[in-house]
């Protein structure tokens, strides 16, 4: 699946990258990303996940061709 990250997450990951591993849910992806870069775990715990342009919960099932966007806590204004 294709992963796209924003803001402070770019300190830990490429802006866009592919994950080939079979992951069942958003919770699994959150864990997987933390394993890829352990120093990102705290920030990942505060992030919201978007699949096909909709905000989803940790229980949301993932498909191999999903486009997942990871959103750190907002800091606009």
């Amino acid at each position: 699946m294709k992963i796209e990250v924003f803001a402070a997450l770019k300190n830990y990951f490429s802006k866009e990258f592919e994950i080939a591993d079979q992951l069942e849910t958003v919770a699994d992806l959150r864990q997987h990303l933390g394993n890829l870069n352990p120093s990102s775990s705290q920030l990942l715990g505060m992030c919201r996940f978007v699949v096909q342009e909709d905000l989803v919960t940790d229980a949301h099932p993932l498909l191999a061709n999903d486009h997942v966007v990871v959103l750190p806590p907002s800091s606009g204004g």
Binding site: F6, A7, A8, N11, M46, C47, R48, V50, E53, L55, V69, L71, P72, P73, S74, S75, G76, G77
Partner: protein, 155 residues
């Protein structure tokens, strides 16, 4: 008008379009880049956004405010990219029959934009360092990534 823009915000132009014959009160909030934060001199701020979702959310926030306060006008625009000191990064304008509703709804809109809408700032300091800043950490209090604590509700 786009909710998210890379252009300089045209405050006089947006205000000129925000008058309404039934409105006796118009409130304009401009969120601007200041030259200091956490004791350091700020050079400029760079904003980025997940634009499709940010636009949808701002549209919904403005509609919520219009209905809740029966507003004549509610508009907002957030700039992304490099924003210099004293330039406006976000503008919110509300217009209603009386000032109470215009002030309250304006505060509600900017609070929700800052906490919920996927927009982020990176502060660049004069000493050459930079930091992604001002993150919303409400969930540490509320226990839910989608529940926030708004200043407007704390008086």
């Amino acid at each position: 008008m786009d909710y998210i823009t890379e252009e300089q915000l045209d405050l006089p132009g947006i205000l000129a379009e925000s008058h309404h014959p039934a409105a006796g009160a118009v409130v304009l909030f401009s969120g601007e880049v200041r030259n200091n934060n956490i004791g350091k001199k700020v050079d400029y701020i760079e904003y980025e956004s997940y634009v499709p979702m940010a636009s949808k959310m701002m549209d919904q926030i403005l509609e919520d405010a219009r209905q809740r306060w029966n507003l004549n006008i509610a508009v907002a625009q957030h700039r992304i990219g490099k924003v210099k000191i004293s330039e406006s990064a976000v503008v919110v304008i509300t217009a209603s029959a009386h000032r109470s509703e215009a002030y309250a709804s304006n505060r509600y809109i900017i609070d929700r934009i800052k906490h919920e809408v996927p927009i982020w700032k990176c502060e660049y300091f004069e000493d050459g360092t930079s930091v992604w800043g001002g993150n919303c950490n409400c969930h540490t209090e509320t226990g839910d990534l989608n529940k926030h604590i708004y200043e407007s509700e704390n008086g």
